[in-house]
């Protein structure tokens, strides 16, 4: 039956070349952990993506309960962590996953750096990868405020003070993020919007570019 459905779609959209390209491309021996145990270092990129998928899924479930306003934000986090079935697990996955994705991305970056894989012709992919790194840091920064506990509040206050000390642009950056004079209701909704819509949108676009370039250029050869 699946073959029938596949053929039906293929007749209309000619998806076979695309599927063959995704599925059949060559994966060389030197990156295969089944052949060389040390090749697990080549898995860090895939694991970063895996954790990113976990972050997106757990985040989607968190927004089912989370309320981004200063009166209810803390209470909704408290409720989903302590009252909702498996809410504690989902929040712990999102919380620890945020750290793990940084760790994995860091290891992936080091692997690419020390194997010299960023050299010609893969310069653009390295730059896109670094942009993904910055987006991830931005996601970590904005997500930190959302539980609206003291730790979140005062860390964000300090962050915005640091942003303000950037010459010329600083006060504008601060006002843009703050949405006013103080860290308050506007700040929370802005950080929520940035964390849930702006940065994930940019992240998905950059990931698509990252993967497209890997497919186009293939993996770098053995050292």
């Amino acid at each position: 039956m699946f073959k029938g459905i596949y053929n039906w779609i293929d007749e209309r959209l000619d998806i076979t070349p695309m599927w063959r390209d995704v599925a059949d491309h060559e994966v060389p021996e030197h990156v295969n952990p089944a052949h060389h145990f040390s090749a697990f270092v080549y898995c860090f990129g895939g694991l970063t993506f895996f954790i990113t998928v976990i972050q997106i899924l757990s985040g989607m479930f968190l927004t089912m309960y989370y309320v981004p306003d200063i009166i209810n934000a803390y209470a909704s986090v408290d409720y989903l962590q302590h009252k909702v079935a498996f809410g504690g697990i989902v929040r712990a996955m999102h919380h620890w996953g945020a750290s793990l994705v940084i760790v994995m991305m860091f290891l992936h970056t080091l692997r690419v750096f020390f194997t010299g894989s960023y050299k010609a012709p893969r310069e653009m992919n390295w730059v896109v990868g670094m942009l993904i790194f910055f987006i991830m840091l931005g996601l970590g920064l904005t997500g930190y405020l959302l539980p609206w506990d003291n730790k979140a509040y005062f860390a964000t206050k300090v962050t915005l003070q640091i942003a303000e000390s950037v010459p010329y642009l600083g006060p504008y950056i601060k006002e843009l993020l703050n949405g006013g004079e103080i860290v308050g209701a506007q700040t929370l909704t802005r950080f929520f919007a940035i964390h849930v819509f702006f940065l994930p949108g940019a992240l998905l676009a950059l990931l698509a570019a990252h993967f497209f370039m890997i497919r186009k250029q293939g993996i770098s050869g053995p050292l």
Partner: protein, 288 residues
């Protein structure tokens, strides 16, 4: 059919459509670009990568079960004693800004100079390190700069964390999420429900709803003070009004009016106003 499978046409379409037939159809790429045991991505290689993924996933889930995500107490902007702390992966930058030559008058160096140089160099690494050599031990400058940055980041993070621990010890405070966890555990051991950090103002209830005076309130007051007696813009709530005014004051306001409040001395008898004022003076917030 406008676009049949006629090979004489320059562009071949799939079915009756604008989707171009790909001429590379079903030709698997040859596996000769690398020596050794190459294999196809799906399913063979992906399966092996998934094995590594499963090991990571199990470790990750064990972590999430063993260590719940921390949650402190609700944000209180008036809390002056709280020691602010960013997430661990920002600590190296946080610590950097505490040194004298990158803060105060030189803060531009701290927020733009050093991070800009470090992240700028990282972003543009392929254009700075342009040699053909890939092995790290044959690229001493790039490798040593990276190692040096790594060591500095680890060092700054550790100094920052130690300083935080020292601050906690000096001020005799525990991080709030730990205090919360301890209180929850204590309550659990005593068989009590977990204490909630969420404080809500309970809505003030209406007192003595079966009093005949409530009928007078319905007729005369609810038009302005709302049917739930919660008031509106510029109009005070009647719930809990007894906490704010004495019986005499209420009597006076109902009789003679006050600002927007009309006088009722012509509409109601003194006995009725007495009844209303007495009822209003009973509207006190229940003791908790």
């Amino acid at each position: 059919m406008a676009h049949g499978h006629n090979s004489k046409e320059k562009v071949v379409f799939v079915g009756d459509s604008r989707v171009k037939k790909n001429s590379m159809v079903n030709i698997p790429p040859d596996f000769t670009s690398f020596p050794g045991k190459s294999e196809a991505f799906i399913p063979y290689f992906l399966l092996k990568e998934w094995m590594v993924g499963v090991v990571v996933l199990v470790g990750f889930l064990v972590l999430t079960i063993a260590h719940p995500a921390p949650l402190g107490y609700p944000a209180d902007p008036m809390n002056a004693a709280f020691i602010p702390m960013p997430d661990w992966y920002f600590l190296f930058m946080y610590q950097l800004l505490k040194y004298p030559y990158v803060s105060g008058d030189y803060v531009v160096l701290g927020v733009m100079g050093i991070p800009g140089l470090a992240f700028g160099a990282l972003l543009l690494a392929p254009f700075l390190d342009t040699g053909k050599e890939r092995r790290f031990y044959r690229r001493p400058i790039a490798s040593s700069l990276m190692l040096l940055s790594l060591i500095s980041c680890v060092y700054l993070t550790k100094v920052s964390w130690d300083h935080y621990q020292h601050q906690l010890e000096e001020s005799g405070t525990k991080p709030e999420h730990i205090v919360r966890e301890e209180k929850a555990r204590e309550a659990y051991e005593k068989g009590q429900p977990a204490p909630s950090a969420v404080k809500r103002a309970k809505p003030v209830a209406i007192v003595a709803e079966d009093d005949p005076a409530y009928g007078l309130i319905k007729q005369n007051c609810m038009a302005c003070h709302a049917t739930d007696l919660n008031g509106g813009s510029g109009i005070p709530a009647l719930r809990g009004i007894g906490d704010q005014f004495s019986l005499e004051e209420l009597h006076d306001v109902v009789t003679n009016g006050n600002g927007n409040m009309p006088a009722f001395k012509d509409k109601l008898s003194t006995a009725e106003i007495d009844q209303i004022a007495t009822w209003l003076s009973k509207q006190k917030k229940a003791a908790e």
